[in-house]
């Protein structure tokens, strides 16, 4: 089940050595934890499949399939739904209390580092959903007789990591909207960068339904490069919006540096 690193809420910039806004265990901790958690989750499921997929996963009408895979499917769907709604809810709730609070430059820098950590986690999730599992899916579907949409390779791909893509693209937006109001505050409107990135994750999940319908109706044979797979690619390209997130926050970082310089310049004049 998805375990998300809870992003910090109020001004939490720390003076403790090693826990500052741009220290690995400070502002960058979200990046390290977030990326690691989902890589480890994917590895854990992969290890589980190594012992069970060919034994129990090729006959969808069997009791063992229900025990090992249908149950995993249910756990994933329930777990990701609950965790997502809880996290989004908590972001909105806590975000509303702090969005208008004045914060220091150090704190804003720390939040941008946390934001980059969430973007990095999103990047890792996009890798797992668009490369790690699809490789397996190709290998499974070109060798095994498919008898269900809930194959051992589809279950972690379409029903856990595809939804997690939506969890993190939207969650990262909510964090940006409330914690970085100067960049993504609601008064600016809805950022095109996030629109494209979130659209990528949502349309990918919608494409799953079209994919299964296509497989049941048209070519029952398993060339990977068939035209009705192509929307997965086209929707995936929308995720290029992720680069705009790095750029927009980088621009803000440079502005902060400029503000710091200006403030220092004013102080020097005053001293002089």
């Amino acid at each position: 089940m998805a375990q998300v690193a809870a992003p910090p809420t109020e001004a939490r910039v720390s003076d403790r050595p090693g826990r500052g806004p741009i220290d690995w265990l400070g502002g960058w901790r979200t990046c390290i934890v977030g990326c690691s958690v989902f890589l480890l989750l994917a590895i854990a499921i992969r290890i589980f499949q190594q012992f069970t997929a060919w034994k129990y996963g090729i006959d969808a009408s069997s009791k063992n399939f229900a025990l090992y895979y249908r149950s995993l499917f249910i756990a994933e769907v329930v777990g990701v739904t609950v965790a997502t709604l809880w996290w989004w809810g908590s972001l909105v709730r806590r975000g509303r209390t702090l969005v208008n609070a004045k914060i220091s430059h150090a704190e804003e820098v720390r939040r941008i580092a946390v934001f980059w950590g969430l973007v990095g986690t999103t990047s890792v999730i996009l890798y797992i959903m668009a490369s790690f599992w699809p490789n397996q899916d190709g290998s499974w579907h070109q060798t095994a007789v498919r008898d269900t949409a809930l194959t051992p390779s589809h279950i972690p791909m379409f029903y856990l990591f595809f939804p997690l893509g939506i969890t993190f693209t939207v969650g990262t937006y909510l964090f940006g909207r409330y914690w970085l109001p100067k960049v993504y505050g609601a008064e600016n409107g809805f950022p095109w960068s996030f629109f494209l990135l979130i659209a990528a994750s949502v349309t990918e999940l919608m494409q799953v339904a079209m994919n299964e319908w296509g497989h049941s109706l048209w070519i029952t044979e398993e060339i990977f490069a068939v035209p009705f797979h192509w929307p997965f690619v086209l929707y995936g390209w929308l995720a290029a919006g992720i680069f705009a997130l790095w750029a927009e926050t980088l621009v803000r970082l440079l502005q902060i540096e400029g503000e710091i310089e200006q403030a220092a310049g004013v102080k020097e004049e005053e001293v002089a």
Binding site: Y127, S139, A144, L196, F224, H229, G241
Partner: protein, 254 residues
Amino acid sequence: MATDAKTLELRELVNKQYRYIDRKWDAVFWITAIFVVGAAADITKQLFAGDWDFWTDWKDRQWWPIVTPFAIIIIGSALQYIQWLAWRFPTGMTYTAVGLFLCTFVGRWVQWGAFVYYPMNFVWPATMVAAAIFADWVLLKTKSFILTSVIGAILFSVTWWISNYIPLAPYLQPAHWMDRIVTVADVQGIEYIHSQTPEYLRIVEHGSLRTFLGETQYVSLVFGATVAIAGYWIGQFIGRGLAIWPIGRFIKRW
């Protein structure tokens, strides 16, 4: 010639030290971005040209040199635009190639090898790296995306084919099998069963009355190069329209 103030200002800016922007930002950017870049390149390759990349008996001389360079140049082109525009680094294509290789290597080893037990000499992935070096080198020299799209894409697809024909060569040797002479790759394709992809699904050179003897390869290379140019501009659209254009833009009424 006296250097103007703006040039001096920008020179200083290149080496300026900041309060909060240290090398960790660079490290986080390069390391986290490679996941999404490699994945985007991998899914584009898999779903546009995957079958030709999965199996040695699909790496033919008519289709493989056309579909694969087209598929893999797309994301590399987008990254070329982004990384040149943002950092003036001629690294977009190579960065994508390195990311793609890591994604594909992990995918083949962990899934096709360890999960389904195909021998790796049957399912090894093609490499894009050598081709990418030349495409990035052309961008560095020309500083132009139009010139890179033509010269770079042509060099890219020819280099791609050479750098992958070399490891393919041993599998194109003739072998005695089932009363016939077929290639080692053909034997791999029939012996190592893939139950849901019967052999007739293989889209490889069949020969036709219009195939001029000995010219198939070269016709495919030339056509593959032109298709790669088209792929390059699709990538430019992704870079310009989907990655850069949204920066600082907001939907006001939504």
